[in-house]
Symmetry: C2
Subunit: 477 residues, 2 copies
């Protein structure tokens, strides 16, 4: 996939990478929608790939002809004769000199990225050459990737083209450390073995690292810069990971902004602040990076900017070169997303007096209880501080009296114990009472996407099927 980030655009084609966790049904829909001509499949996934093609052939949308299937057998145990042309053979038999097919216009598409499955209907986000070039540079700069880095991949390359870093690492003459699967142990081992200088990772990856058993850890050979994004990291996670010698860069963006779009620029004076305060500052999403023209927090009805008060919630909106060309074959959704000339993120945030923005919640994740808005993220941040908690997600549960009340799903650390009443008490001691969960559900695993985002729609559905909470009025505000 790394090599194809170069080969496909240089052949004048558009790169469309798929999530390796998709099933055959999803793949056949995306193959049909994208109109893919060539379908590269790793040999481990060949059964799913073939099944997707069979489904596509059976479907009505396949009149454009099926894509050609090519395998990538690599050197894994699954490599074998598939009956298809293999990528490595294709490369070996190709002439060593070729003419690059340059884009005719810099706004020609370079990639088509289907948004990850936190919503049920993926949309195809079109990236153009200009935007990809600029966002690559901006990501490299935002993240202090100086010459000849060693980059450890945990962010999938199918996710916003790996935050543009297949291109960015090459641009800086770097070395790529690619992992098929990873655990905290694998991460530590590779950092030490290869002298990793940079890595990316969703907050769940940071959480995996800080919760690693002592036996799996290793002392870092030097500072490892970690760009985290995909979901706002809880301050407690930031504190713990930096104590291990990692340096965190907090970024924020959407598939629609080529991935990274804002960066929480660190002010050197802040180094002198107490650790708690530093973590609070670092958890903010900051400013737009050098290639994005503007980020703003606006009232989505009036399109007016919210005041710089750290209080007033509005919707995060973007405009500039690193906003997508649009959704493929979906003029309606494209227009809707760009109402008023700004890309609407669907994320709610405040603007602090120093200009930094801070996410409060996804618009659809906000809990409205007795007319008050409750940020699920704020409640989660508090629950994260409970010593027994490894992961948590808070969603709305229907409530006869309040309309909705917070319902917390919690995964406990190995061997740790806590009761529902304990968690609720812990929250009520640290939050306004109306914000504390009324329900706590313990789970062995919480549903995540492959990019480490919590699938809240799954939990919301679970909370809904639990039915309305009654008699919750005894929890007085």
């Amino acid at each position: 996939m790394y090599e194809l980030h170069f080969a496909v655009p240089m052949a004048g084609a558009v790169l469309c990478t798929f999530n390796t966790r998709h099933d055959a049904a999803m793949l056949s829909v995306l193959l049909g929608h994208s109109g893919a001509k060539v379908f590269f499949v790793e040999s481990q996934l060949l059964d799913i790939g073939r099944a997707a093609l069979t489904r596509l052939a059976d479907s009505a949308t396949s009149d454009a002809g099926l894509p050609v299937l090519l395998t990538i057998s690599g050197d894994g145990p699954d490599s074998g004769d598939s009956g298809c042309v293999d990528y490595e053979d294709l490369v070996r038999d190709a002439p060593s000199r070729f003419d690059i097919r340059w884009p005719v216009d810099e706004l020609d598409p370079i990639a088509l990225n289907y948004t990850s499955g936190t919503t049920s209907r993926p949309k195809g986000v079109v990236y153009n050459h200009r935007g990809a070039y600029l966002n690559t540079i901006a990501t490299v700069l935002a993240y202090d990737i100086t010459a000849t880095p060693t980059y450890l991949w945990t962010v999938p390359m199918f996710h916003c083209n790996g935050w543009n870093l297949p291109w960015g690492v090459a641009m800086q003459g770097g070395t790529n450390i690619c992992l098929r699967h990873f655990t905290a142990k694998v991460i530590f081992d590779n950092i030490v073995r290869h002298g990793v200088t940079h890595m990316g990772g969703a907050p769940t990856v940071l959480n995996m690292i800080i919760n690693a058993p002592a036996a799996d850890r290793k002392a870092l050979p030097g500072p490892v810069r970690v760009m985290t994004g995909g979901a706002p990291p809880p301050p407690r996670v930031l504190l713990a990971i930096e104590e291990l010698g990692f340096v965190i860069y907090q970024i924020y963006g959407l598939t629609e902004t080529y991935g990274p779009a804002t960066v929480c620029t660190w002010i050197p004076d802040w180094d002198a602040l107490p650790a708690e305060e530093r973590a609070q500052l670092k958890a903010r999403q900051g400013f737009h990076h050098i290639a994005m023209q503007d980020v703003d927090v606006k009232n989505s009805s009036t399109m007016e900017s919210v005041p710089y008060d750290g209080q007033t919630v509005g919707e995060v909106m973007f405009r500039g070169n690193t906003v997508m060309s649009g959704y493929y074959k979906d003029v309606g959704a494209t227009k809707e997303s760009m109402t008023g000339g700004w890309l609407h993120s669907g994320d709610l945030a405040v603007r602090h007096p120093d200009g930094y923005i801070q996410l409060k919640d996804r618009a659809k994740d906000i809990i409205i209880s007795g007319g008050e808005n409750i940020s699920s993220m704020e409640v989660e941040s508090v629950i994260f501080n409970h010593p027994a908690v490894q992961e948590t997600a808070v969603v709305a549960r229907p409530d006869d009296h309040w309309g909705e009340t917070p319902c917390a799903f919690v995964k406990l650390k190995d061997g740790a114990n806590a009761t529902e009443a304990e968690i609720i008490r812990f929250c009520r001691e640290r939050l306004p009472h109306y914000m504390a969960p009324k329900t706590v559900v313990f789970e062995a695993e919480l549903p995540m996407t492959s990019t480490g985002k919590m699938q809240k729609f799954v939990l919301r559905e679970k909370a809904r099927t639990m039915g309305s909470l009654t008699n919750s009025t005894n929890c007085k505000l």
Copy 2:
């Protein structure tokens, strides 16, 4: 001048900065040619500024009206009442809110830069917003300027807009240390006082630093990254400066390429090489940076690329976003400079097997002796290794037999001694005999531009007026 790099473009105007060493005659020509509307003059230079306006009023080209004169009095001893509006008053009395006048098109001009006086007739190079934006980013990246640098200015901001770094340092949230005049002592003092992380400097500045008396030196507080360019640094200078703890980035470009256009990317494996070899590698000009589409070394007649043999000399040519819009009011010169779709640099270079380019000479500085081309730079590199030599420049002297022979102008170190015969012998032991100078002239000072470039046309003229060398045939090849 730093602030005006932002204020002028934000007012929708074009920034045209002048060399502070220009005299009134030159200034009046440039004011007339540029059609300047507002003329900011530092109070120390007010007499020259007024004289230039008087000349302009007297000339035939002033029918467009004289520019408005504003002073920049600062806080120096020369500040006083000039009878003009002062910049600081203008800023103080202006409304704090204003509408930025954005460029209508990204190719709109942002700056007009007259080329420095190594030729007798300056040309006005037009920079556009797109090119300036991209070259700023490329310079920051080429030079490893990570977040919140402390940058020491020795490169004048009137020279290629200070290699784009008024914008680049701001972009990275940096601190600027500005000096009106500097010596090696001033440089060391400021590095230590302010914790300088980055600085720029022509090779003559590096030479000044390495020749500083011990009393003027200070131990560096940390590695200081120095971007050097403007002229290729002799390997000996690179060796000596790195021993002091400076880290050198060798860049190369022209006013016509927004300053920096190539960078000698350092390969970590080279760290293990002997110091001499490292210096040789670092003295090369390298590859085009991330914003320049292409640099090539071509035969200027056939436009064919030279082979990657480190031997065949061709002309360095550029194309891409960071090539100027053109010469202002000079369609002929613009077309000529872009013959064949590439910007012709007038610099001669070779291409090494690893793809790195290396300058051999300015086309007009090459010495043609008995039909052989002699690179003046190669001869200078050797003379630089003589322990008594501080500065040198080699030019062609007319020769009855050979047509031209090398003539070396030499500035000796304080208190050092050497004779002409010694220098010639030193060269003949280290170069093919035909390349060794036939004439050596000792001077107290060599003529430099304010950006540290040797003014070879002055020396060439001097060598010409010395008359033809006769009887030089006894120096057999």
